[in-house]
């Protein structure tokens, strides 16, 4: 096959621009290995919230979770760039294990992180921040509009990330009942926050 025939075949096909949102995580991982910087930015945008959730759950600190986001993304991008991630189809598992490893890595220190961040071209700081705030006046209104027992359970649950069994002991309720109240309360609150009540 000559080059001209190959070119003719390619150009004869309709061009389809694939939106970033349409690409799965594995495709992004493969594009990063092919030196696609746009894919890196999209990869960070997608995985930053997921790593942050993991960090918040296990570290119980927003600041520590933000540091973890940066550490994990840097490590992952470095490996993806040189094709060191063997199976891009399992990129989610790879990211989770990287996050776990980073979290227990006691050798990390702030000085090392600063040096790496300064040398890294991707804006990791911006992707590490949560997207939006909850309108306080609206929340106040919607909380006060809840039935008292739903308000109590939501406040006591979220103030200290209190599980249902511990909360139930304080309120004289069983854990299952607390979960039902919590679920209904959250539904009512979100419905109100979205303006449908």
């Amino acid at each position: 096959m000559t080059l001209s025939i190959l070119a003719r075949d390619i150009y004869a096909r309709p061009v389809r621009y694939v939106a970033e949102e349409e690409q799965d995580d594995a495709s992004l991982a493969r594009r990063i290995a092919a030196s696609d910087t746009a894919a890196e930015a999209e990869f960070c945008r997608r995985f930053a919230p997921r790593i942050r959730l993991f960090g918040r759950k296990w570290l119980r600190s927003d600041a520590a979770a933000a540091d973890l986001v940066q550490d994990v993304l840097i490590s992952a991008l470095q490996k993806l760039r040189v094709g060191a991630v063997r199976d891009p189809e399992r990129i989610a598992s790879f990211m989770l294990s990287t996050a776990r490893q980073m979290m227990v890595d006691s050798r990390r220190n702030a000085g090392r992180r600063d040096r790496i961040l300064n040398a890294f071209p991707v804006d990791l700081v911006s992707v590490a921040e949560p997207e939006s705030e909850v309108a306080p006046e609206r929340l106040q209104h919607c909380l006060q509009a809840l039935p008292e027992h739903e308000r109590t359970v939501l406040v006591m649950t979220f103030y200290d990330d209190c599980p249902a069994d511990a909360l139930g002991k304080q309120l004289g309720l069983n854990a299952g009942h607390v979960r039902v109240i919590r679920h209904r309360g959250l539904e009512h609150l979100r419905s109100c926050m979205e303006g449908s009540q």
Binding site: R50, P147, Y159, D161, R179
Partner: protein, 188 residues
Amino acid sequence: MINGKHPTADLLACWLGELDENAAALLEEHLFGCADCSAELEEILRIGDAIRGQMRNGGVGTVVSAAFVRRLQADGLRIRAYTLRPGESVHCTVAPEDDLVISYLHASLEGVRQLDLVFADADGGSPHRSAHIPFDAAAGVVAVVPPMALLRSLGHARKRMQLLAVAHDAERLVAEYTFDHAPYNTWA
């Protein structure tokens, strides 16, 4: 899982450490690969953070447990507390430096299945009723946290709280408490 997406209740249960180890590990891995679920959990936690903020700055009035009040105090919140037995009244206020004001309403709650709280003027005007307030019958106390904005807006006022036990279609007065409120700058 519904249509490849975990229900909100599962996501929150995982966050709060209520799932067993295997279920939590599976859901955690799923969260790393699912944009919808991670966005959903992030949204719940954003609301949770905002609720915590409202509680800390007195923006929400509610009924809580005595243990929860101790937790607030441990966090450094400045709490003005009033303790009342059935039928008692108290002279009360709110100081500029107070973060929260708590009223501990003691009552005999044995056998009570549904407890309602009525907050009204002393003559019974402008009543606000909260049905099904949570309570621990064994502890025999209800801790009420009014919204700080409401307290700070009060001038000299006499207010009343009533605890009502509700069973079927009947109700009975469990206890009544009176609050003689004065603004801080006039309060002796």
